[in-house]
């Protein structure tokens, strides 16, 4: 009897632990996507909130009428602005991910192969910029890249250039900002897998006559693939929807979908189109998000 009671108590206790975070995330993370989907089928009107109701109660017939309008999606597919913005985001996210990987891999390897006593300090130094506001760090680049900024002054002083370069509000500035902001997201998971590697494997490979480069490509790199996948997803997925960096550093010609969504929402007050833009972005990102989730689950097990 008491065993049964204990079991029930145990189950209740588990529910008590599990339910608050579970319900919270369902209510405030999963459920909201349903409302985005719903409003993406609505029509923008001048009212508060600025969209037409999807369901209308018809008192004569006594039924609820649903009107699903697909013209927001048609509009997005017909106006080349949106397609170009999606492609622009995809291109910037892909190239930035590759640059982050190229810079971040040796960086992470250097930390992982440093003496254990120094690793804590190096990790802290890596985390510190991540702990300071992204907004402020991106803003700092304006002071460096603008025409009378630090970089142009240094280049003029050294004599590499004769007149200031236009660096700000270019695609170049976008790449600098994105790589800068997201580099720690690449380095941390890479470090985590590289640090765990068994160094005796490398010694064995050396003893058997393999060159350091061969050892790297045959042992270090393949064993670090989980970190590479996590790092790439942690950079690629959020960059697709990035808003702050393109707004502060890019010119008008660098189209990114996060900025387009923001403009539709806040400047044009077209919430249904902004919702449709978000739904398409989510559909594009589902596969990368699933890859990321699988990687997380594997690392746990």
């Amino acid at each position: 009897m008491s065993a049964v009671l204990h079991q029930i108590q145990g189950r209740m206790g588990k529910l008590f632990v599990l339910l608050p975070p579970y319900l919270w995330m369902i209510l405030f993370f999963l459920l909201p996507f349903g409302f985005v989907l719903k409003i993406s089928f609505s029509e923008a009107i001048i009212a508060s909130p600025p969209f037409a109701p999807l369901f209308e109660f018809d008192p004569d017939e006594g039924i609820l009428n649903g009107i699903f309008r697909i013209f927001n999606y048609q509009y997005i597919f017909e106006d080349s602005l949106y397609l170009n913005a999606y492609l622009g985001s995809a291109k910037i996210a892909t190239v930035s991910t590759i640059i982050c990987l190229i810079i971040g891999y040796p960086f992470a390897l250097a930390i992982a192969r440093s003496p254990k006593s120094k690793q804590g300090f190096l990790l802290m130094a890596l985390m510190l910029p991540f702990w300071t506001s992204l907004l402020i760090r991106v803003y700092a680049w304006i002071g460096i890249l603008r025409q009378d900024g630090v970089l142009n002054n240094i280049l003029l002083w050294v004599g590499v250039i004769d007149e200031p370069l236009i660096l700000l509000q270019t695609t170049f500035a976008t790449y600098v900002g994105v790589v800068y902001a997201y580099l720690p997201f690449m380095v941390l998971p890479l470090y985590a897998t590289l640090e765990k590697q068994d160094l005796t494997l490398l010694e064995a490979s050396r003893d058997l006559g393999a060159s350091p480069i061969r050892s790297f490509f045959d042992i270090t790199l393949p064993l670090s693939i989980p970190g590479v996948i996590s790092g790439c997803m942690l950079v690629f997925i959020p960059v697709i929807g990035e808003f702050v960096i393109p707004t502060l550093l890019s010119g008008e010609s660098t189209l990114m979908i996060g900025r387009v969504l923001w403009t539709e929402f806040f400047n044009n007050r077209d919430w249904p189109v902004a919702s449709a833009v978000a739904i398409i972005m989510l559909l594009v990102l589902i596969i990368p998000i699933i890859i990321f989730q699988n990687q997380q689950a594997k690392q746990e097990g």
Partner: protein, 262 residues
């Protein structure tokens, strides 16, 4: 270490820190125009502390940060216990997915979806009435919980189980054991998680912009509206203060987790 690796280490750190040092340097520049060095001055710091608007926004962000970090730490802790201690349970895959997806979800999507939820809920059930501190805090708890979980889960997984087992063998119930044994052991990780959540909430621009209402302009929202128009020297001073506070927070967090591993 090969010379190439050493070079990438130093180049990497130079890249990460150069803008921060430039910003700190600018904040002590007496000249209003950033390009000209007008001598050392703390003028902009004085200016900052006389600016009602900035102080007000900082106070709002502080309140939201403390509430969000506390909420996210509680949910993240419960989530970590479930993930690490409950083994396989029904709905675990969905649970794990929901707890980690906010790590990568673009902020504009999280922001618009929460706003539409709040507005639809207000139409349907009359809650939440309008938007402000409460809605921003709910939104911040939602995305910060995932980051707290990332900090807590590995700590809990690597914790020595024998301590908990000993406590249970001596007749303590699961709740007593959790509060008297588990919690003290992972306390440093909880502090780190709380600090990280606070910083993330304090820094957030995008999600707060979607879920804020009139009268709840947070510090990042105010900074953004100022720097969009022009470079303003008082923002350099503000940025320097934020960087220093964040640095102290990180050192504190590292100190706590060091003590734990010793």
């Amino acid at each position: 270490m090969p010379r190439f690796l050493k070079f990438s280490l130093w180049a990497g750190f130079a890249f990460l820190y150069a803008p921060i040092f430039v910003l700190i340097g600018y904040s002590f520049n007496a000249s209003r125009r950033g390009s000209v060095w007008g001598g050392f001055s703390t003028h902009w710091y004085g200016e900052l502390f006389r600016d009602e608007q900035i102080l007000n926004a900082a106070w709002i962000s502080l309140k939201i940060g403390v509430l969000s970090a506390t909420g996210a730490t509680i949910l993240g802790l419960l989530g970590a216990v479930a993930m690490v201690r409950f083994g396989k349970f029904r709905g675990r895959t969905l649970f794990a997915g929901l707890m980690s997806a906010p790590l990568v979800m673009p902020e504009v999507i999280t922001g618009i979806s929460l706003l539409l939820l709040f507005i639809s809920a207000e139409q349907l059930i009359g809650w939440p009435a309008g938007r402000g501190l409460l809605t921003i805090t709910i939104a911040h708890i939602t995305f910060c919980t995932a980051f707290v979980l990332v900090v807590l889960q590995p700590r809990m997984a690597s914790m020595e189980r024998s301590l908990e087992e000993a406590s249970r063998d001596l007749g303590a119930g699961p709740v007593t054991t959790f509060f008297l044994v588990t919690l003290p052991v992972i306390a440093p990780a909880i502090v780190s998680g709380w600090l990280l959540a606070f910083i993330l909430s304090f820094d957030d621009l995008v999600i707060a912009s979607f879920t804020a209402g009139p009268g709840s302009t947070t510090l990042p929202m105010l900074i953004f509206s100022k720097i969009k128009i022009a470079v303003s020297p008082d923002i350099n001073a503000l940025a320097t203060i934020i960087i220093l506070v964040a640095a102290l927070g990180l050192v504190a967090a590292m100190f706590f987790s060091r003590r734990q591993s010793d």
